[in-house]
Structure formats: structure tokens, C-alpha cells
């Protein structure tokens, strides 16, 4: 069980890091999602791996750590929201510039965009 959890975290982190190092936005976003899955399992495991135990302390009975489950819920919600946000921003950048490379291409200080009218939506 420990081996399975540990190798799952390791594999997902490795895949995530590999994908993040690509330069296109799609692999980077998939890599970020992969990393957040890895960290979720990791947080879960940091409360010790136990099978079939309730997250409630009853008299004398064994229990599993409930706090890490609460932490992981928070982490899932946040990473979900952040992934949605970066998908929208990457789409916006793709539609605006026509390519989906992450990072700024080196060039001379670019001219500023024309100032939009005040109150423009």
C-alpha cells in the first residue's frame, strides 16, 4: 500500500514536472493539474496511510487523521479554481496572439498598445 501511494506521487510529480517544462500552454496546464493531483495524494498520505478506519476518535478504537482530509479538500478546491483560471487566461492569450507559447519572446522594448477609450468594456 505504501509503495503504491509513494510511487503514484512520484510518477505523477515526474510527469507533471516534465510537462511543465514544455513551452506550449496545453502541456503546461496538464502538467500543473498532474502536479496538483500528486500533492493532493501526498497531503493525504502525510496523515499516515490507514485502511478502513473512521476519521473519528471513539473510545480506544483506531482512527485515521481527519485533518489531512480537510486540508486536501481545501487544496482540491483551490487547485481546481486555479486550473480553470489558467485555462481561461491561456485561451485568451492564444486568441489574442495566435500562438500558445508560454513566455515572452525576446525583442526590443515593445511599443505600448494604443490606449483604449475610457469606459470601454
Amino acid at each position: 500500500m505504501e509503495l503504491l501511494v509513494a510511487s503514484a506521487v512520484g510518477m505523477m510529480t515526474a510527469c507533471g514536472v516534465y510537462l511543465i517544462l514544455r513551452k506550449r500552454s496545453f502541456p503546461v496546464i496538464v502538467g500543473l493539474a498532474m502536479l496538483s493531483y500528486a500533492v493532493n495524494v501526498f497531503i493525504f498520505a502525510s496523515g499516515r496511510v490507514a485502511i478502513g478506519l473512521p476519521p473519528i476518535i471513539t473510545d480506544g478504537a483506531a482512527y485515521t487523521d481527519p485533518l489531512t482530509q480537510a486540508l486536501v479538500l481545501t487544496a482540491i478546491v483551490i487547485s481546481f479554481g486555479m486550473t480553470a483560471l489558467i485555462v481561461m487566461m491561456a485561451l485568451g492569450a492564444f486568441l489574442e496572439t495566435g500562438d500558445d507559447h508560454i513566455g515572452m519572446e525576446e525583442r526590443e522594448a515593445p511599443p505600448l498598445p494604443a490606449k483604449p477609450q475610457e469606459g470601454a468594456e
Binding site: 511543465i20 500552454s25 503546461v28 500543473l32 502536479l35 496538483s36 500528486a38 500533492v39 501526498f42 497531503i43 498520505a45 502525510s46 496523515g47 499516515r48 485533518l67 489531512t68 486540508l71 481545501t74 487544496a75 483551490i78 487547485s79 479554481g81 486555479m82 486550473t83 483560471l85 489558467i86 487566461m89 491561456a90 485568451g92 492569450a93 489574442e96 496572439t97 508560454i102 513566455g103 515572452m104 526590443e108 522594448a109 515593445p110 511599443p111 505600448l112 498598445p113 490606449k115 483604449p116 475610457e118 469606459g119 470601454a120 468594456e121
Partner: protein
């Protein structure tokens, strides 16, 4: 229990959705409510500053759950100072945004601004490591929105890069917290301090891994080399007002380093020792050097200021890495100074960009509207940033130099003095390229009419006045900061406030 402690979090948290839901189509209402909210926040923060200065650390138990089971907010001198700095800067920056019409160039500026304040205040107040993560995310997600405010291809591209970088940082934060939790079984900072001090030797290796991961996360936020890559593009493509507000965001990284590595992992901890000081100091020196070289080599004004901001973080982290009360006082003074100086420079650059329609330092362009006034403001900001007398940058660097008379004195003094010279040269080069060479151009165009932006100029002048006040009042301010760092290094007061039953 002093309920005002939670007000800096609650007020923007309620105001922001109210602005989105009720008045999203009415900019004037948004401006009135948002500015009033920030002004009230500034007033509350000053009251909190006063109570923190006269009382020992105060604790707010959320839901009245006793620590370490519930989340706590802790108000001490350091957190009160950071909140006051944030609120005052935010108020000035927000009025500048209204004065220049930046808030009208996209939707939801004011709502995002309030959410950003909520995240900043929460991060400064919280006494729980996981809650710190949550507030980091709140301030980051608002900063993503603010960063791409106004749109444009370059800004969006820089924004995607910024978000990706920080998402990796957040994942790293979670890995660090989970590692520390698996060793100590707690995430309350005061409880962590107690548990880490009595940790069995067998767990020290895992704890060190967790703590260094945490240091890396804060280094991402604080733009410490080698994790500073996000900063130049983000700050130079973000709207000028937002970049000025972000001046306090790198300070969140510095604050987190100061808080965590004095309270939880002080240098006398058996498990970690001086590991963090040894890692921080060389990184800070390289950061400072990189910032100065960037100032020298920048091709655009906004990039120039962004690199100057990196350099100032280097100086700040050099002082922090000493982990002595005297050096911490210097770090606090420099933190106040560099936040204001960075904000002034970003606002001045924004005014110049708006009139010049180009950011380049390579080719001179004809004089712009209000040429002389802007040149004078840039000159003032540059003097402060480079650390020349008579402004507070000079005093701040003096304090840092004075506090680093130790084993590494030669390295640190050389680094700070040489980079100051390079920064001075870089700023004079930029100033002459933008403001002096403009007169060498013969143009048929008439001199442009001055733009009437009294509110915007007023706010830049107000920031400048704050900087002058910081210089003139340097004596009383450093005396107050001395007490602040004394309180910071007196860990038992903090721990006893949070855990009244703690044995220590």
C-alpha cells in the same frame, strides 16, 4: 478578545462581492465604495498599529476554538506594521488609479483590488501555516486578475507565464506543509515552534526538507535568485498602478521568511541550525547583483524599475539573513522604504509611458507633457531607490551596512556598495535618455498640452512626502522598529499568547 483584529480581512471580503454583485455597471459607485472601504481599512490599520504598539501580541481565535485546534489570527507589532503599510499604500494607489482612469480600462478593477487587500491583510495576520497558504492563494488569484487588467496581447502572455509560475509555487507550498505536518502533526505556527524545538533527532532530516521547501516558496514570492524569473515580465507588463501595488507583494515573501524563520526555525533550533541563514545570504547577494545589472542593462523604463525592485529585495534579504535584532530593524526600515520607493517609480513610469506612448530607453523621443515635473519626480524616486542621500534609501542602506559587521562583512559591504554605484549609473543613464536627450530632438510638433491629472500627481507627491517623512522621522521610526524586532525575537511572548498552556 479584540474583534478588530479580524476587521482588515472581513471588510474587503464583504466589500468585494458587494461591488461585483450590486454595482458592477456603475463605475462612480464602485469608486466611492471601494475608496471609502480602503480608507476605513487604513484607519482600522492605524488603530491596530496603536494597540499592537502598546500591548503584547494579541490573538483572535476564529470560531473561539482553542489553539492549536482552530485557526488563529495574531496581531503583533510586525503584522500591524505590514497591514498599515499595505492599507496606506493601497489607498494612495487606488486614488491614483481613479485619477488616471486606469480603473475604467477594464472590468472589476475595484473588486479585484479589495480581494487583493483581503489576501494581503490575511497573510500578514494569520498564525496558521495552512491558513497562510490559503491567503497566499487569495492574494494571488486577485493579482492574476489585476495583472491582466486592461488586456492586450503582451500583458496576457506575461500573465499566463506569471500564473503558471505561481501555480508551481503553490504546489511546492503544499508539499512543504504536508512534509512539515507529517513530522510535527500540527500547522499552528506557535505550536510548530514548540514541537520543532523538542523534535526527536530521527525526524530532523524530513523537517529540514520541509523547511527548505518552504523557504523556496517564500523565495518565489520574494523574487530571490534563482526564482525571480517571473518578476521582470510581470511587473513591466502589468498596469503601472498594479505594479505599484505589487510593490508590497514581494514584501509578503520577505514577511513570511521573517515570521517563519524567526518563530518556528530560529537559528538555535537543533534540527536546522543556521541552515537557512547560510542559504539566504548568498542568494540575497546574487539577487542584489542581478538587480543592479538588470538596472544597467534594461531597455525599457518599466523593466528598469522591475530590476531595481529585485535589487531592493536582495538588500532586504541580506539584512534578514543575519537573524539578529539589529539587522532585523534595518530590514524593517528598508522594507518600508523600498515599498514606497518602488511604488513611486512605477507610478512615475506609468505617467511617463502614458504621455510618451513608448517605453524604450534606446531612442530619445520629443519632450512630453509636464516634462520637467515628471523628470523631477523620477529623479527623486531614483535617488531613493539607488540609496543616495538625502532620502531614506541612504539611511536604510546605512542601517543594513551597520548591522552586517560580521564574518561576511567584506562580501556584503562590497556587494551593497558596488551595486549602489551601478544602480546610480543605470538610473542616471535612463533619466538622461528619457528626459535630457528629449530636448536634442528637433520636432515640428508643438509642445504637447499638459494633461490635467491633479489626483494622480497628488498621490505621487503624497508617496514622496511619506518617503521624506520616513527620512526625517528616521530616529523615532527606528526606535519603534527596534522594539518590533525585540518583540519578534522574544518567541515566548508570541507562543504564550497563542497557547496559554504551553510549558515554554
Amino acid at each position: 478578545m479584540n474583534h478588530w483584529i479580524i476587521a482588515p480581512v472581513i471588510l474587503p471580503a464583504l466589500l468585494a462581492p458587494f461591488i461585483v454583485l450590486v454595482m458592477r455597471h456603475d463605475l462612480s459607485l464602485q469608486r466611492i465604495f471601494s475608496t471609502t472601504g480602503t480608507a476605513v481599512l487604513a484607519a482600522i490599520s492605524l488603530v491596530l498599529l496603536y494597540t499592537a504598539a502598546t500591548n503584547p501580541p494579541e490573538v483572535y481565535f476564529l470560531g473561539n476554538w482553542p489553539a492549536p485546534f482552530g485557526i488563529v489570527l495574531v496581531l503583533d507589532r510586525l503584522s500591524a506594521m505590514m497591514i498599515a503599510l499595505t492599507a496606506v499604500l493601497a489607498l494612495l494607489v487606488q486614488l491614483y488609479a481613479i485619477g488616471t482612469g486606469w480603473d475604467a480600462r477594464g472590468n472589476h478593477f475595484h473588486a479585484l483590488f479589495q480581494f487583493q487587500l483581503m489576501g494581503l491583510c490575511g497573510a500578514f495576520l494569520t498564525g496558521d501555516a495552512f491558513n497562510l497558504f490559503v491567503f497566499f492563494e487569495v492574494l494571488l488569484i486577485a493579482s492574476y486578475g489585476l495583472m491582466i487588467h486592461g488586456g492586450g496581447a503582451n500583458r496576457l502572455k506575461a500573465g499566463v507565464q506569471y500564473v503558471a509560475y505561481n501555480l508551481v509555487g503553490s504546489t511546492l507550498f503544499l508539499f512543504a506543509l504536508a512534509t512539515i505536518y507529517s513530522v510535527t502533526g500540527t500547522l499552528n505556527m506557535a505550536d510548530l515552534a514548540v514541537k520543532v524545538a523538542e523534535l526527536p533527532a530521527g525526524d530532523a532530516a524530513l523537517l529540514r526538507v520541509g523547511a527548505v521547501l518552504l523557504l523556496l516558496v517564500f523565495a518565489v514570492k520574494g523574487a530571490l535568485v534563482p526564482l525571480q524569473f517571473w518578476l521582470p515580465a510581470t511587473y513591466s507588463f502589468a498596469p503601472g498602478v498594479v505594479a505599484a501595488l505589487f510593490a508590497v507583494m514581494t514584501k509578503v515573501g520577505a514577511y513570511a521568511v521573517i515570521r517563519v524563520f524567526t518563530l518556528i526555525f530560529p537559528p538555535e533550533t537543533a534540527a536546522t541550525g543556521t541552515l537557512f541563514a547560510d542559504l539566504l545570504m548568498p542568494a540575497a547577494v546574487v539577487t542584489l547583483a542581478l538587480g543592479a545589472i538588470g538596472v544597467m542593462g534594461a531597455t525599457g523604463m518599466a523593466r528598469l524599475v522591475a530590476f531595481a525592485a529585485i535589487g531592493s529585495m536582495g538588500t532586504l534579504f541580506i539584512a534578514v539573513s543575519q537573524f539578529t535584532p539589529q539587522a532585523m530593524t534595518a530590514a524593517f526600515y528598508y522594507m518600508l522604504h523600498s515599498t514606497l520607493a518602488t511604488a513611486i517609480l512605477f507610478l512615475v513610469v506609468d505617467l511617463v509611458q502614458d504621455r510618451r506612448r513608448d517605453d524604450t530607453l534606446r531612442t530619445p523621443l520629443p519632450p512630453i507633457a509636464q516634462h520637467g515635473l515628471l523628470a523631477a519626480l523620477f529623479f527623486g524616486g531614483a535617488i531613493a531607490m539607488a540609496g543616495m542621500p538625502p532620502l531614506s534609501g541612504f539611511l536604510g542602506k546605512m542601517l543594513v551596512l551597520d548591522a552586517t559587521r560580521g564574518a561576511d562583512m567584506t562580501l556584503i559591504w562590497t556587494a551593497i556598495l558596488v551595486t549602489s554605484l551601478i544602480t546610480v549609473v543605470g538610473f542616471s543613464r535612463a533619466g538622461s535618455a528619457v528626459f535630457w536627450k528629449a530636448y536634442a530632438i528637433t520636432t515640428t510638433q508643438a509642445h504637447p498640452e499638459p494633461k490635467r491629472e491633479p489626483l494622480a500627481f497628488g498621490m505621487v507627491l503624497a508617496l514622496m512626502a511619506a518617503l521624506v517623512a520616513l527620512t526625517v522621522m528616521a530616529g523615532p521610526v527606528t526606535a519603534w522598529l527596534d522594539d518590533t524586532s525585540a518583540e519578534l525575537f522574544d518567541r515566548t511572548a508570541y507562543i504564550n499568547a497563542v497557547l496559554p498552556t504551553a510549558k515554554e
